[in-house]
Symmetry: C2
Subunit: 142 residues, 2 copies
C-alpha cells in the first residue's frame, strides 16, 4: 500500500490529535477509513480491504483499532443489525437508511430529518444521542 506523503501527514495528525500513538497499522487503517469520504465498514470488510491493499494486518488489530478509533471519537458505531457492528466515518450528527436485504447503510444528513418533539428523559438520565433509522425494503416490481 502506498500512502502519499500528504495523506500520511494528515492521518498522523488526526491520530495525534485524538491522543493515539502513530503506528503503521493505525496509519494504514486510517488511510483506508478516512481517505475516501464517508464510509460504513464492518470489521471484516475492513480486514479484507486491508489485505487486498497488500497490508499485513491481523483481524485482532483491525478490531482493536476500530475500537480505539471509536473510543477516541474518530468513528461512530452503528447498531442496526444484530449480526455485526458498523463503523461510520461520519461523526457529525446524522441519521441512516438501512437496507436490510443488502446489509447496507446510507447516511441521512441531520437537516433532512426534523424531530420536533421528544419526551422528557426518565429522571436521573440524560440524552446521549437521538438516532433515527429508516429501514428500507426493495420496492415490489411494479
Amino acid at each position: 500500500m502506498r500512502l502519499n506523503e500528504k495523506t500520511k501527514a494528515l492521518m498522523a495528525n488526526k491520530l495525534s490529535a485524538a491522543g493515539l500513538r502513530v503506528t503503521q497499522a493505525r496509519l494504514a487503517l486510517a488511510h483506508l477509513l478516512f481517505g475516501q469520504g464517508d464510509r460504513h465498514v464492518t470489521a471484516d470488510a475492513l480486514r479484507e480491504e486491508a489485505l487486498a491493499a497488500g497490508l499485513k494486518i491481523s483481524q485482532a488489530t483491525v478490531y482493536n483499532t476500530l475500537n480505539q478509533f471509536h473510543a477516541a471519537g474518530l468513528l461512530r458505531q452503528v447498531q442496526v443489525d444484530q449480526a455485526r457492528s458498523y463503523f461510520d466515518t461520519n461523526i457529525d450528527t446524522h441519521h441512516h437508511f438501512y437496507v436490510e436485504d443488502e446489509a447496507r447503510l446510507i447516511d441521512i444528513a441531520a437537516q433532512e430529518v426534523d424531530v420536533t418533539r421528544l419526551p422528557d428523559s426518565p429522571k436521573g438520565y440524560d440524552v446521549d444521542r437521538v438516532e433515527v433509522i429508516i429501514r428500507l425494503d426493495k420496492s415490489p416490481k411494479a
Copy 2:
C-alpha cells in the same frame, strides 16, 4: 407452571390467529411474554424466566419460538446493542429509550415523538419502518 384457563384460551387463540400450531412450549412462552403487559426480553432472560417458572424447555426452543413469534408478527425485534437481540411484545408503532449502562429498553409511545420531515427513500426502496432510539446516560451526580 399454571396457566389459568382463560389466559390459556387467549394465548391459544393468539397463536392460531398467527398461523402457528398450538403447542405446550408456545403456549407457555406466550403466557410469559404476553401475560403481563409490554415487555422487552432477551432470549437468555426468557429462558431463565421459563426455568424459574418450572418449565422444562431448551434454549433452542426459546430461540425458535422467539423467531417464529417475530416472523408471525407477534413480536418486534429491537437492535440497540450489538451483543444481543431484544424482543418487544409491543408491536404497535412506537420508539425507545435505551439505557446503555443497564442494557435496558423503555418504550416511548408514538405520540410522544414528532418526526415531521423525512427524506425521500432512494429510488427502488420503500420505507419499512422508522425507528427513533434515544440513548441515555446516567446523569452526573449533581
